[in-house]
């Protein structure tokens, strides 16, 4: 069977992962708020742990074949790759939401790549940094780059993450200027990284449960 069956996250662990990522994206939202000067709200309602194949199928199913992703790799206590994924048709909308209504279409097209890269970088960095902080161990992150293609194009590009079998698949809602944009965060990790993540989540659960409120 696939790796998905050998390392599983319990429901509570999945809830905990959702919260950890929520903490991360909330930090990102605060950062974006300062950049944009507008109220930006980011939230992750749920997480799914999927095999790479299923995640690719799901992406193809949900976004058709035109997706754009900002991808970053990370090494440290746990290693892998993280991606912020949007339908390509929404990427200009995202850029406009971030930049504001004053810019012309041409200007937006011109800065699209740069704006996407920066936005993705803020969001992914915050998520990963939150995890690193909780582990109290450093993570080294690569420079973000943009990939376009369909779901399997994005997920089958094996990078430095190595023997990736599982994908942590999170829906993300991005609210700027009263507009909702939906996208995904995909985190690909190897086995040892997943074990490390599982430990982190266990610690988080213990902490929140035993909290002297």
């Amino acid at each position: 069977m696939s790796v998905a069956d050998t390392i599983e996250l319990s429901e509570l662990e999945q809830d905990a992962l959702t919260e950890v990522v929520n903490i991360g994206v909330s930090r990102a939202a605060l950062a974006l708020r300062k950049m944009v000067g507008e109220h930006v709200l980011l939230s992750v309602p749920s997480v799914e742990v999927l095999s790479r194949q299923r995640a690719a199928t799901l992406l193809v199913q949900q976004g058709g074949d035109e997706l754009v992703a900002i991808k970053q790799s990370f090494t440290g206590a746990f290693s892998g790759g993280a991606m912020l994924i949007f339908p390509q048709s929404r990427s200009l909308e995202l850029v406009r939401a971030v930049t504001g209504p004053e810019m012309s279409h041409e200007e937006i097209v011109e800065i699209e790549q740069e704006a996407l890269t920066e936005t993705g970088n803020v969001i992914l960095n915050s998520c990963l940094a939150t995890m690193a902080n909780m582990l109290k161990q450093p993570l080294t992150m690569s420079i973000p780059h943009i990939i376009k293609g369909d779901g399997s194009d994005l997920l089958t590009q094996v990078g430095e993450e190595g023997d990736v079998g599982l994908v942590l698949f999170l829906y993300i809602t991005f609210t700027v200027r009263e507009r909702d944009l939906r996208g995904y965060i995909a985190m690909m990790m190897n086995m040892s990284s997943l074990l490390a993540l599982k430990q982190l989540l266990g610690a988080f659960i213990d902490e929140t449960m035993g909290e002297e409120l």
């Binding site: 509570l12 959702t18 919260e19 903490i23 939230s43 309602p45 193809v60 199913q61 988080f204 449960m209």
Partner: protein, 671 residues
Amino acid sequence: MNLQSSPRTGGANGEPMRELEDRLSLSLKAAGAVGSWSWDIPGRLLHLDARLARFQGIEPAEAATGLPVARFFTAIHAEDAPRIKVAVGGMLRGAEVFFKSYRMLAPDGSMRWVEAHGRCLFDEHDRPERFTGVLVDITARQRIEERLRIAQTAGGVGTFEFVPGLGTASVSEQFCRLLGLEPAPVIAVAAVNAVLAAGERPLLEGRPLRVLQDAEYRIVRPDTGEQRWIARRGEVLPDSEGSGARQIGVIFDITDLKRTQHELNELNRNLETRVEQEIQSRQQIEERLRQSQKMEAIGQLTGGIAHDFNNLLTVIIGNVDMARRRLGGGGDERVERALANALKSSERAAALTQRLLAFSRRQPLEPTSVNVGRLVGGMFDLLNRSLGEQIEIKTWFDPDLWSVEVDTNQLESAILNLAVNARDAMGWQGLVTIRAENRTVVDAGEGEDLGNGDYVVLSVADTGQGMPADVIGRAFEPFFTTKEVGKGTGLGLSMVFGFVRQSGGDVRITSAPGQGTTVELLLPRSGAPAMESGNAEAQGAARLARSATVLIVEDDADVRTFAAEGLREMGLNVVEAGSGEEALALLDRPEPAIDLLLTDVVMPGMTGRDLVDVARQRRPDLPVLYMSGYPGEVMAENGRLGPGVVLLSKPFTMQALAARVSEMLEWAGPG
């Protein structure tokens, strides 16, 4: 959402504050909210509004002053508490949005489903400061959703909601399962339409529609590759968000239905075909029956006429014959020529009635076991002469040909008849093929004139002009001819037909205009091996004599007198009877002893056959000679007469009568 309620501060502005709170409480109530909370994170205090406090069984006054934050969890269902604790843990550590549904237990013990919408507010250093939110009672909604989910699962119904122009649709899990897709709440329209089989219209249509029409789709499931049928039903509703019309509908699998429908259609189609075939076969049977009844009627009519006509001819021929013999050689030559002409014409008339009888299947047959191939071989010279030099004759006979039981003379005549017809159809040049082969009939249908069994098929095929169907239909009728006036009597095929049917077989014609004609004679296989056809011995003129006594029974006085006189002339004793009853009385007398019974067959009162039956009871060895133009009456099955019974066909000449009588008496007269 900034719905936090401020902690009560009291003091001078207490009244407006209370007013504000009441208004907030009212609007929350109107919004279906159970209540609101505000969690002071650095101060570690939880404030609940009066409604939420009551809901949790806490004194509103106590809740307003601030509670230990752990009280947030007191009313939460034990099974949901851990994940809510994890979620709150996230909020206290910097998460901004709180959106959870869970169960709460009211003081009266009842369970409510609630949905919590919360937010975290941060201080100027981005540290979490206040966690506020409202609780909405969703118990009723939950129940409805539960029912809907069960209905969908049980009914195998998947739902979708879609606004044309958008790339994705909201769908249910069941929707994805029905199409063989990964379950997901949101799915790309392109991915949904990609499961459709080639050539299908889109399931989710990108253009705005006024109505969502019922539709059926063939799909190929991407997970299994299986082909299924899906039905779509739904409605188009105006979109509340104003972005056009919203398509809301369901899909369900109708593969089994389609399959059953298909099988049913197939069955119906087969049924229609079967009924059609059955009707056709019935019509054919009826047609054959009608034809066979017609032939039977014509046969009876012909036979009846031939019978009476034969009686007349017998008398004419007998008397002319007698007149000639009385005249001897010394008469007037002209008278003698006239008598000879009369006799010749009478004999031609007799031959004609013979053929009519042949058709009406009332001729006496003398069947013997015969090999058809050898019989045709023996006729070769005759056939060549009859057909002329321009016609080639080819024959082929199955080397293991079965023998058949037929009257050889009649069969020869039938073959000659067919050959001559072939010649005429070809205008004296072409090819005639005569074949004989074995055939076992196993599927003789209802209404067929032929039973199952073994047959020898003798066929005569020509390369002539052929016949249309309507001509084939009438070909066996007597006097029906396509030949020019004077070229044929129209009796040839009728005779062949009568003979073959009387022999237990059948005749079949295959022909079409321009395609030549093939006539097949099916003759029943004989149990006995074929006899070498010996030539019938020439029978010398009868020379009768001495004191044998013949009883003549004949209702027609003229015929009786003619026969009696002829026999007396031969020196026999003759006793005459006008009826069967009279004859029996004569038979019972001791003197004179009757040596031969010569009787007509068709008589008023007791028939010849009845008479013979009674007479044979008294005298089993009594030789019987029937004289009849209507022999069907005396023949046993298959045209055979019993032992010691001979038939003399009317009309007959004196010589023929004498020959038969002397044969039967086994007695030769003086030389």
